[in-house]
Symmetry: C2
Subunit: 313 residues, 2 copies
Amino acid sequence: MSNLPKRIHIVEEGPREGFQIESAGIPTARKLELIDALSETGLPVIQVTSFVNPKAVPGMADADAVIKGLKPREGVEYTALWLNEKGFERALSKDKLTLRGQITLSASEAFLTRNQRRTHSEHAAEQRRMTASYLAAGIPVETAAVMASFGCNFQGDIPHQVVLGRVDEILSIAAEAGTSIGRLSLLDTMAWATPASVEALVGMLRDRHPSLDLCLHLHDTRGLAMANAYAGLRLGIAHFDAAVGGLGGCPFAGHAGAAGNICTEDFVLMAEELGVATGVDLDSLIECARLAEDIVGHALPGRAMRGGPLRQL
Amino acid sequence: MSNLPKRIHIVEEGPREGFQIESAGIPTARKLELIDALSETGLPVIQVTSFVNPKAVPGMADADAVIKGLKPREGVEYTALWLNEKGFERALSKDKLTLRGQITLSASEAFLTRNQRRTHSEHAAEQRRMTASYLAAGIPVETAAVMASFGCNFQGDIPHQVVLGRVDEILSIAAEAGTSIGRLSLLDTMAWATPASVEALVGMLRDRHPSLDLCLHLHDTRGLAMANAYAGLRLGIAHFDAAVGGLGGCPFAGHAGAAGNICTEDFVLMAEELGVATGVDLDSLIECARLAEDIVGHALPGRAMRGGPLRQL
């Protein structure tokens, strides 16, 4: 039996996921044009940029300018990503952003080494320090994430027990700092999830941590994101990350075929057709996907922007 | 609870679905190159062409030449599509093909009118005549299909009761002719299926016709094909049509965004990862998808050909 949620909450990551892998040539004004359009769709949270080293990620070199130009729409939460203390300091000065501290570990040490040039224990120590910094700055730390939760291009399958271990570690980092985690994101960073592994891992996590809200962050590198999302919906998962048009791809996944997050408008179409409310206006979102395609100057993988919603012609 | 089948049977429709919408410029030799490569993958059935009016479908003008050049591989069944008596007569002379009569009705009369310029009753009468022709020629008639089973771009939602009515009509056409139908294909011609409508329609059909084997033919126009296929697998459906690379699109669907069938290699990847045997070698199939892309000269939507199988780099 399925246990579809009545309503889901989508974090739109297109501007961050998408523009980080494009060349640095996209004008800031066009990024803002997409963010403004997304702000009108009913999406509750938009991740607009990341504060990372512009040498490593040239597409994010204008992060400060994006925030400067941002015209926040009431009721929409704007967030950003950072990977270290320096990035957090840049984010901290931006009062248009909603800052939330997140404790993120990687289930794959091989991925972490390639991605952030740190061992697991160095990374965990950094997360511990950053948790203290967040709390010292008055920023809540109530969310967590596990990278490569389902598998890794450099390490292969990730046993669910490893993920459970990382979650225990996250919860003790939080407890030591005097905070507690309410929501955990399972990041399928390299698209190893299958509907079966989503079911298995979600089941185990719920058995062990029944009060944790789960979120799925699904890449579509092998075409399974929609089936995985459907598996998640059946389990009652109510939080998903997505990227308009299917923007994105991971620059660290190690192959050119790494695809973006699940396409927001295709996912919204499925959810709404399943009777799961998203709060998002599909037609407006499809217009955003077309705008995103125009901005990046190449075809994006989203389908509904071409196929249209389920409506008689 | 899910009821995944142990093994599924995939009909590869890429050469027919794909080349019918491409311009007529693809050399027959290249089509044969793809069919030969597909023959080595373990796929049990390959639909190689269709005998249709070359004025309406220029890409199929070389149907006879395709059959002439075909080098059948033992153990692989080669089939073709036809839509009327004239097409069937052309197919009948081709001894490399396995011919099977199929009774096909459309759940949407609006689609039928646009696609084949016939009313439902004209079409049903034609199917009755053709069933007699098949049987007179010694061709078995054991399969059936319902076009637009889940919805129609020109008619909107199709109530499940309409599909049940069409199935009754099919079964009586078969009974009158003295044959009986063992397998029914639900054709999601214009990609209106959702996981919920797959579950609902399959459930109703099984209640009413428990001995009918069901097959799903899923287009990916709105990005839901993989979720719909997963819904079908959960219900124990063991027959699927698919197209390598995601080749195809329906020339009659009425919009440019009409996409091909579910991508064979992405679907095989999902099925095998779910523990459902396909009998297909994924690596060889991925090579076929790359070949298909080379042949059509433009990007195809398949993901696994870029993302690769779930294997450590």
